[in-house]
C-alpha cells in the first residue's frame, strides 16, 4: 500500500496547495522513483510558457500572404483536376511544406501532455480508485451485515446490529431490519441492542408505531424495562394505554410493574 504521507502530498499537489518545502518533498519522492528533477522543471517552465507565447497581429502583409496562399491552392486544385500528380504524392510533397511547423508544434504538445499526464495521473487514478473501492467496500460490508443478522451465533448478530448503530441507524432498510430483529430475534440481548438502535430514531413514525405496538408483545422483563424507559423519555403519550394493559398481566415482573407505574405517572 501507499504511504499515507504521500497521499497527502498528492492531494496538496492536485489542489495546488504545495508550499515550497512540501514541493521539494514531492520532488525528492519523484526523484526516488526515477524522475529527472531538472527535466521536470524545464517541462514545467515550457508548460507555463505555452499560454504566454506571443500571437502575431494579422497585419497587411499577412493578409496578402494569405490570399497568395489561397490563389496557390486554387491553382493546385485545378492542376489536380487535370490529372497531374496524384493526391498522395501532392500530400507528401506540397502538403508537408505547409504543415510541418504545425505538426512539430502538435508533437511538442503531445509530448508535454503525455509527460504531465504521466506525472499527475497515477495519483488521480489512485484517488478515484480508493473512493470507488471504499464505496464498494461499504456496500459489501452492508450486505454482509444484513446477512449476518440471520446467523445462528448471537455475538455475530450483535456485531451486525452494532454496525448499523454506528453507521446508518436512520436508513430505511436498516430501520426495517432493526424492527424485525427487535420483534423476532430469539436472543434477549440481540433484541435489546436492536431496541437501542431504534431508540435513536424514535422520531421516525414507523419506529414509534413499532415500539408502542411491541409493549404488550415482548415477554422478557429486560426488554419491557428498556422499552418503558425509552417511551417515557421520549414522552410517547400514546404508550400509556398499552402500558396499562401490560400492568393487567399477573405474571409481570415486580421491577417492571413499578417502573411502568412510575412511567405512566410521568406521561399523564
Amino acid at each position: 500500500m501507499k504511504d499515507y504521507r504521500n497521499d497527502e502530498l498528492v492531494v496538496e499537489y492536485i489542489r495546488k496547495e504545495l508550499t515550497p518545502e512540501r514541493e521539494r518533498e514531492l520532488e525528492s519522492i519523484l526523484a526516488g522513483r526515477g524522475f529527472d528533477i531538472p527535466e521536470l522543471h524545464e517541462l514545467k517552465a515550457v508548460y507555463a510558457g505555452l499560454g504566454e507565447l506571443p500571437v502575431p497581429e494579422a497585419g497587411e502583409s499577412m493578409t496578402a500572404r494569405f490570399y497568395a496562399m489561397l490563389e496557390n491552392e486554387k491553382r493546385k486544385e485545378t492542376e489536380r483536376a487535370a490529372g497531374r500528380p496524384g493526391p498522395g504524392g501532392r500530400l507528401l510533397r506540397g502538403g508537408f511544406d505547409i504543415w510541418w511547423p504545425r505538426l512539430a508544434y502538435a508533437a511538442v504538445l503531445v509530448v508535454i501532455g503525455w509527460s504531465v499526464g504521466y506525472w499527475a495521473a497515477p495519483a488521480r487514478r489512485y484517488e478515484e480508485r480508493v473512493r470507488l473501492m471504499s464505496s464498494e467496500m461499504t456496500e459489501m460490508k452492508r450486505m454482509m451485515m444484513f446477512s449476518m443478522l440471520n446467523r445462528s451465533r448471537a455475538s455475530e448478530r450483535l456485531q451486525a446490529v452494532q454496525y448499523f448503530n454506528d453507521l446508518a441507524p436512520g436508513d430505511d432498510q436498516v430501520v426495517t431490519a432493526m424492527l424485525d430483529v427487535f420483534e423476532h430475534d430469539e436472543n434477549v440481548n440481540v433484541r435489546l441492542a436492536a431496541l437501542d438502535v431504534l431508540a435513536g430514531v424514535i422520531s421516525d413514525d414507523r419506529v414509534r408505531a413499532g415500539l408502542i405496538g411491541n409493549v404488550t408483545r415482548q415477554d422478557s422483563p429486560i426488554i419491557q424495562l428498556a422499552l418503558v424507559d425509552i417511551l417515557v423519555s421520549a414522552r410517547q403519550v400514546q404508550a400509556v394505554e398499552p402500558l396499562r394493559r401490560l400492568l393487567e398481566r399477573k405474571d409481570l415482573n415486580m421491577v417492571v410493574r413499578s417502573r411502568i407505574d412510575r412511567g405512566i405517572r410521568l406521561l399523564s
Binding site: A154, L158, N187, N189, V190, P221, I222, D229, V256
Partner: protein, 304 residues
C-alpha cells in the same frame, strides 16, 4: 529378509492389541449404553442406567475433531455442563424429589423410566437435549468435549453451572444464578433475577459480548490483556473494576445531543469506556444489581 518379516509381525501384534484395547474401552460398562446419533430414554431402556429414576444418554459426534454445539431447553432444576477430555456427549438427568414422590404416593415408587423423559439428538455436531422439566424438577448434567459452544434457555427456577468450555456461551435464564468458570471464547448472557458470574481464561478477539440482568449482580473476569469498548449501566448498584477503564464521557454526550430535542434521560446513565485501548463492544446492564469487571485470577469469591 527374516528380520523384516519379524518386524512386520511385531507391528501387526502392536496394531491388533491397540485395536482390541479400543474395542474394550468402547464397551466399558460404566459408560452406560452407547446409542447412535439419536437417543430416547423415555421408555424402560436399560434398567442398569436407572438410579433413583435417573436417566443417562451417551451420544457420539458426527465429526469428533470439530467444534460442537449443545442446545438445551430447561425449566425447573439445575443445569450443569462440563467440558471433559473425551469425544462423547454424556447426558444425565435425575429427578430432584424422588423421596417426596414415594412418600406422597404412600410407598408407591414411580415405575423406572416413566418418571422423567430425557430426549437427546445429534446432527452435524449439534446436540439438542430436552426433558420434561416443565412438569417436574429435573437436575440435568451434561459432559461434552472441551470445544463446545452452548445455547441454553432456562425458563424456571434453578442454577446454571458451566465449566471448562471453549466456544460461544449463549445463556438466557429467567430465575437462578448463572456461573461459568474456565471459559475460553465469548458470551452473551441474560438473567432476570439471578446473578451472572463468569471467569474467562481467554476471549475470542473481535467478538462482541453482552451481560444483562434485572436484579442480579454481574461479575465477569477477563484476561488482563483484553481489548474491548465497554458500555455499562446500573440503576441502583455500583460499577467496580480493577482494570484501568478509560471512561469516555464524550461518547455519552454525543448520544444525548443526537436526540433531536427529545429528552433521553435513560441514556444519561450509560457509562462508556475502553479496556486495553478499545475493541469489540461489551455491554453490561443491571437494573438493581452491581457490575464488577475484574482481571482473571483476581477473584476473592473463589469461583475457580
Amino acid at each position: 529378509m527374516k528380520m523384516m518379516k519379524s518386524r512386520l509381525r511385531d507391528a501387526a501384534v502392536v496394531y491388533m492389541s491397540a485395536a482390541a484395547l479400543l474395542l474394550l474401552s468402547s464397551i466399558d460398562p460404566a459408560a452406560g449404553p452407547l446409542t447412535g446419533p439419536e437417543g430416547h430414554a423415555d421408555g424402560p431402556a436399560d434398567p442398569a442406567v436407572h438410579r433413583n429414576g435417573s436417566e443417562q444418554l451417551i451420544l457420539g459426534l458426527s465429526s469428533p475433531d470439530e467444534e460442537g454445539v449443545l442446545i438445551v431447553q430447561h425449566h425447573k432444576g439445575t443445569v450443569r455442563i462440563t467440558g471433559y477430555d473425551g469425544e462423547m456427549v454424556i447426558v444425565n438427568a435425575s429427578p430432584r424429589y424422588v423421596d417426596t414422590a414415594v412418600v406422597a404416593s404412600g410407598g408407591m415408587k414411580p415405575f423406572p423410566g416413566h418418571s422423567i423423559k430425557l430426549h437427546a439428538i445429534e446432527k452435524h455436531n449439534v446436540v439438542t437435549v430436552s426433558t420434561n422439566s416443565h412438569e417436574r424438577t429435573i437436575d440435568l448434567e451434561v459432559r461434552v468435549p472441551f470445544d463446545f459452544s452452548l445455547h441454553l434457555e432456562k425458563h424456571a427456577a434453578g442454577d446454571v453451572h458451566v465449566h471448562y468450555l471453549r466456544g460461544e456461551m449463549e445463556i438466557t435464564s429467567s430465575a437462578g444464578n448463572v456461573s461459568l468458570t474456565g471459559i475460553s471464547g465469548s458470551a452473551v448472557i441474560s438473567t432476570v433475577e439471578g446473578d451472572i458470574l463468569l471467569r474467562f481464561e481467554r476471549v475470542t478477539p473481535h467478538a462482541p459480548m453482552a451481560f444483562t440482568s434485572v436484579t442480579g449482580d454481574i461479575d465477569v473476569a477477563f484476561p488482563a490483556d483484553v481489548r474491548a469498548s465497554v458500555k455499562m449501566m446500573t440503576g441502583r448498584g455500583d460499577i467496580r473494576s480493577d482494570f484501568d477503564i478509560e471512561v469516555d464521557r464524550r461518547q455519552a454526550k454525543t448520544q444525548t445531543s443526537e436526540s433531536t430535542g427529545i429528552q433521553r434521560a435513560f441514556l444519561e446513565d450509560w457509562t462508556y469506556g475502553s479496556l486495553g485501548g478499545g475493541g469489540p463492544r461489551f455491554l453490561f446492564r443491571s437494573y438493581r444489581g452491581n457490575i464488577t469487571i475484574r482481571k482473571s485470577g483476581n477473584h476473592p469469591r473463589g469461583a475457580e
